[in-house]
C-alpha cells in the first residue's frame, strides 16, 4: 500500500488535517475577514459573545474584538511553531547525523553538548533566553528552537547509527564515495520518515511553548497571540470566561490536530510499527 493510501485510512489523521487546514485558512484570511485589527477598540469592554451583532466572541477588557484577536493570534502561533521547528531541525539533524555517522570523539563531543542542553529544564531555559534578548517574534522563535533541538539530534543519531550498518552503505564505501557523500546521499534519506513524524509533533510543542511564554508576558508586545490573550484575561477569568476560554480552545484544537497528523504520519511511514491490528 502506498503512503497516501495508508494515511487516508486513518480517520484521526484526516480529522487532524482538516482541522489544521481550517486553522491555517483562518490565519491567512484574518486581515480579510476582520477589517479592524486585533489591537483596535471596536465596542465597549466585556461584551459577552453574541451580545452585539458582528462580535460573535465578544470584546475584551479594552473593548477589542476577540474573534479578530483569535484569528490574528493563529498567525503568530503557526508561524512561531513552524519556524522554530525548522530551526531546531537545522541544528539537530546535522549534529545528530555527524555524531551517529562518525562515532568516536565526534559522537562523544556532540552528545555531551546535547546533554548540556537536555539537563536544563526546557521552559526555564526558554524564559531565560527570551529575557536576555528583547522579547520579539525572532527571539521567541530562536529560544524555542534552542530548547527543542536536543531530542532531534538524539533521534537522528540513533537512526543514522542503525542505517550506517546496513550493507548498502558498505557497498557505497566500496564504490569509492567519500564519507560525507555517503552520509548525505545514502544514509540521511533513509532517516527522513521518523524525522518528519517528530517534526510534526514538535510544531505542536512549540505552539504550546510560545503560548506559555506569552502568557507570562514574555511574548512579542507587537504581536497578538493566544497565550497573551489568556494571560491578559487571567485577572477577569471569573467574570469574563470567554476571554480565556476561546484562545484556550484554539490552542487545544491546533495542538490536537498536529498530534493527530503526527500519529497518522507515523503509522503511514512506518507500517511495520503500526499500533493497529496488534492487540
Amino acid at each position: 500500500m502506498s503512503f497516501w493510501k495508508r494515511f487516508r485510512t486513518n480517520i484521526g489523521a484526516i480529522v487532524g488535517v482538516v482541522l489544521l487546514i481550517g486553522v491555517i485558512a483562518i490565519a491567512l484570511l484574518a486581515p480579510v475577514i476582520f477589517e479592524h485589527g486585533p489591537w483596535q477598540m471596536v465596542q465597549r469592554p466585556f461584551l459577552a459573545p453574541f451580545a452585539v451583532d458582528g462580535l460573535p466572541l465578544g470584546t475584551d477588557t479594552l473593548g477589542r474584538d476577540v474573534a479578530s484577536q483569535l484569528a490574528h493570534g493563529a498567525r503568530v502561533s503557526l508561524l512561531v511553531g513552524l519556524v522554530s521547528t525548522l530551526v531546531a531541525l537545522l541544528i539537530g539533524v546535522p549534529l545528530g547525523a555527524l555524531a551517529g555517522f562518525y562515532g568516536g570523539y565526534v559522537d562523544e563531543g556532540a552528545m555531551r553538548f546535547t546533554e548540556f542542553f537536555q539537563t536544563i529544564p526546557n521552559f526555564a531555559l526558554a524564559i531565560v533566553l527570551v529575557a536576555i534578548f528583547e522579547p520579539s517574534l525572532a527571539s521567541i522563535t530562536l529560544a524555542i528552537a534552542i530548547v527543542s533541538w536536543p531530542p532531534v539530534a538524539r533521534l537522528v543519531r540513533a537512526e543514522v547509527m542503525s542505517v550506517r550498518k546496513r550493507e548498502f552503505v558498505d557497498a557505497a564505501t566500496l564504490a569509492g564515495l567519500s564519507k560525507h557523500r555517503i552520509l548525505i546521499r545514502q544514509v540521511l534519506p533513509n532517516t527522513v520518515s521518523p524525522i518528519i513524524v517528530m517534526a510534526s509533533l514538535m510544531v505542536a510543542t512549540a505552539i504550546l511553548l510560545e503560548s506559555s511564554l506569552s502568557f507570562l508576558g514574555l511574548g512579542d508586545p507587537n504581536a497578538m497571540s493566544w497565550g497573551y490573550m489568556i494571560g491578559a484575561a487571567r485577572t477577569v477569568i471569573r467574570s469574563s470566561w470567554w476571554l480565556s476560554f476561546f484562545p484556550g480552545v484554539a490552542i487545544i484544537i491546533t495542538v490536537l490536530a498536529l498530534n493527530l497528523i503526527g500519529e497518522g504520519l507515523n503509522d503511514a511511514l512506518n507500517p511495520h510499527l503500526s499500533r493497529k491490528g496488534r492487540a
Partner: protein
C-alpha cells in the same frame, strides 16, 4: 491410523496481497511415527499451513475452508480455550530461529518448567526433575549447568536442542518443525536431524517437518509434500518423490540442487589477482582498568592467493572468520597485520584517501539482497555512483550500467526503477552488475546466494559461471555451503576458528580431503548419500 489429517485446507490472504489464497485446497495426512516433509520455496505457503494448525495466523489471514482432524477433532475450529490446552500438550512446535524463539531473560530450566506450569501439571520438584530428564534426552551437555543457563550462553545448536526439549515436555503426539535447522551450521544441522530421528523412533511421534532443502528431506523424510504458491504439486513416499519425481516443478527443484558433480578442471593462470599474506584480525570486546579484554582471533595468520580468472571458494561454519577475511580483503575492516596485495598494491597499508581511489579494484557482492541496495535510490544511481566517483563521464557510466543490467539478465529498463520492485534474485543480479561496473580485478561474493531459494540460487550461480567465462573474472566466493562451492569453484579453502585448515582443488577437497575437519564438514552435508547414489562419483 493417521495422527493428523488435513483436508482441503484453504487459507485466505488479506486484500492487496499478491494472490487471494496463502494455501489452497491442501490435503495431507501424517501417520504416527512418520516424518512428513513439507517442501517448498519461500512464499509457497508451507509455514502458513503449520501456523494455521497452531492458531498462529497473522491478523488479516484466516482459514477459509477445509478442516484438520487431530484426535477426531477439527483443530482449526476449536474454541480458543481448547486450542490452548492442545498447544504444547498434544501439538508442539519448534521454530527456525532459536535465539528469538527463546525468552532471553529466562533461564532454560524455567522456560521448560513453564510448559508444565502452563498446563498445570506436576509439583515444583517434579517439574524440575522432568526438565533435567528432558535436557538429558536432547543430549545437552552438563544438564545441571544448562538448566541455570540463559539462552545467550548457549550456542545455536544448543538453543535449538533446548527448544526441542520444551516442545517435548508434555509428550506431544505431533511435532511441527518449521525450518528448525536452516539457521544452523551443517555439522550442527546433521546432529539436530539425528536427534529428531532418534526422538521420533523412541516416542513414536508424528513429525511435520517444513524445509526448503531437499538434502534434509533425503536425510529424514518418510513422506514428502511439495508445495508451490499455496498448492500441493506432488506428494508421495520420500523415495518415490526424490528418485522419480512426477511433476515438472519437483523435477526442476531437484535439478536446481547443487549436486556433488564437480566442475571440470581448468588451467589457471600464474599471475595472482589477490594475494593475502599473513593476515590477522583480532576483535577485542569488554575489558576495563583491571580486566583484560576478551580477544577473538577472527582471522589468524591466513595466507592465500586467488589467480586471475580463478574462483576460490572460502568455506567454513559461522564464526570461522571467513566473512571477516572477505571484508578485510576489501578493507571494510582494517587488519591488525599482514598484507592484502591486489595488482601489486597493498590495500591494507593505504591511507583513507589513497584507498578511496583504489577501491574499484576489489568489489563485493553482499549476502542480504534486501539490505544491500539503498531503498531510496534508483537502480541506475546505485550502479553509476562508483564509476562517476572515479571520474568516468556520466553519459558513459549510464550507458555501461544499462549494458551491464542487460548482461546480468534484467534488461536495461530496470535502470529507472527502485529496489523494492525487484525480487531477491533480481536484486542479487543488480548487486553483481554494481560490482562489475567498477571493472574490478577481483569480486568477493560474501554468501551471495545463501539467502536465495534453490531455483533462484541455481540461476545466479549460472550467471556467475557465465560471467567468469566471458569476462575472465576472479572471484573469492565465501559460503557455508560446500555443495554450492563445489558447483562454481576451482579451488576451495576451508577455514575453522580463524585459521586456514586446508586449501586445494575442488577435486582434492571433495574426493581426497586431508584434514579431519574437512572430512567432518563433508560428512555433515545433508543428503550426501542420496547425492552419491544419483551421481556415481
Amino acid at each position: 491410523m493417521s495422527t493428523l489429517a488435513i483436508e482441503h485446507l484453504t487459507i485466505g490472504l488479506p486484500e492487496g496481497a499478491d494472490r487471494p489464497f496463502a494455501v489452497e485446497d491442501v490435503s495431507m495426512t501424517i501417520d504416527k511415527g512418520h516424518i512428513l516433509c513439507v517442501v517448498g520455496e519461500s512464499g509457497s505457503g508451507k509455514s502458513m499451513t503449520a501456523n494455521a494448525l497452531m492458531g498462529l495466523l497473522p491478523p488479516g489471514v484466516a482459514v477459509k475452508a477445509g478442516r484438520a482432524l487431530f484426535e477426531a477433532r477439527d483443530v482449526l475450529r476449536l474454541p480458543e480455550a481448547d486450542k490452548m490446552a492442545l498447544r504444547g500438550a498434544s501439538i508442539a512446535m519448534i521454530f527456525q530461529e532459536p535465539m528469538t524463539a527463546l525468552n532471553p531473560l529466562m533461564r532454560i530450566g524455567d522456560q521448560i518448567t513453564e510448559v508444565f506450569a502452563a498446563h498445570d501439571r506436576f509439583t515444583q520438584a517434579e517439574r524440575r526433575k522432568k526438565a533435567l530428564d528432558l535436557i538429558r534426552e536432547v543430549q545437552l551437555p552438563d544438564p545441571e549447568k544448562i538448566i541455570r543457563a540463559y539462552p545467550f550462553q548457549l550456542s545455536g545448536g544448543q538453543r535449538q536442542r533446548a527448544m526441542i526439549a520444551m516442545a517435548l515436555a508434555l509428550e506431544p503426539k505431533l511435532l511441527i518443525a518449521d525450518e528448525p535447522t536452516t539457521a544452523l551450521d551443517v555439522t550442527t544441522q546433521s546432529q539436530i536431524l539425528k536427534l529428531i530421528l532418534d526422538l521420533r523412533d523412541r516416542r513414536g511421534m508424528a513429525v511435520m517437518f517444513i524445509t526448503h532443502d531437499f538434502g534434509v528431506v533425503a536425510e529424514i523424510a518418510d513422506g514428502v509434500i511439495v508445495m508451490r504458491e499455496g498448492k500441493v504439486v506432488e506428494q508421495g513416499p520420500a523415495a518415490q518423490v526424490l528418485n522419480t519425481p512426477q511433476h515438472g516443478y519437483t523435477r526442476r527443484l531437484l535439478a536446481a540442487i547443487p549436486t556433488g558433480v564437480l566442475p571440470e578442471r581448468r588451467v589457471l593462470s600464474d599471475s595472482p589477482a589477490l594475494e593475502i599474506k599473513g593476515l590477522r584480525k583480532i576483535y577485542r570486546t569488554g575489558g576495563g582498568l583491571f580486566r583484560a579484554p576478551r580477544e577473538v582471533r577472527a582471522v589468524d595468520d591466513v595466507s592465500l592467493t586467488v589467480s586471475r580468472g580463478e574462483v576460490l571458494g572460502l568455506v567454513g561454519e559461522s564464526g570461522s572468520g571467513k566473512s571477516t577475511l572477505g571484508r578485510t580483503a576489501v578493507r571494510l575492516v582494517t587488519p591488525d597485520g599482514g598484507q592484502v596485495l591486489v595488482g601489486g598494491t597493498d590495500l591494507a597499508a593505504l591511507s583513507d584517501e589513497d584507498l578511496r581511489k583504489q577501491r574499484h579494484k576489489v568489489q563485493m557482492v553482499f549476502q542480504d539482497p534486501y539490505a544491500s541496495l539503498n531503498p531510496r535510490q534508483r537502480i541506475i544511481g546505485a550502479i553509476t555512483d562508483g564509476p562517476i566517483a572515479r571520474g568516468i563521464p556520466k553519459a558513459r557510466a549510464v550507458a555501461r550500467a544499462r549494458e551491464l543490467l542487460d548482461i546480468v539478465g534484467l534488461g536495461a529498463d530496470a535502470a529507472s526503477r527502485f529496489p523494492h520492485e525487484f525480487s531477491g534474485g533480481q536484486r542479487q543480479r543488480i548487486g553483481i552488475a554494481r560490482a562489475l561496473a567498477m571493472d574490478p580485478e577481483l569480486i568477493i561474493a560474501d554468501e551471495a546466494v545463501s539467502a536465495l531459494d534453490v531455483s533462484i540460487q541455481a540461476q545466479v550461480l549460472d550467471l556467475l559461471r557465465d560471467l567468469r567465462e566471458k569476462m575472465d573474472l576472479s572471484i573469492l566466493f565465501i559460503t557455508h555451503d560446500l555443495r554450492v562451492a563445489a558447483q562454481l569453484c576451482d579451488r576451495i579453502a576451508v577455514m575453522q576458528k580463524g585459521r586456514l585448515v586446508e586449501i586445494g582443488t575442488v577435486h582434492d577437497i571433495f574426493l581426497n580431503p586431508q584434514q579431519d575437519y574437512t572430512k567432518q564438514l563433508l560428512a555433515a552435508v545433508p543428503g550426501a548419500d542420496w547425492d552419491n547414489q544419483k551421481v556415481p562419483a
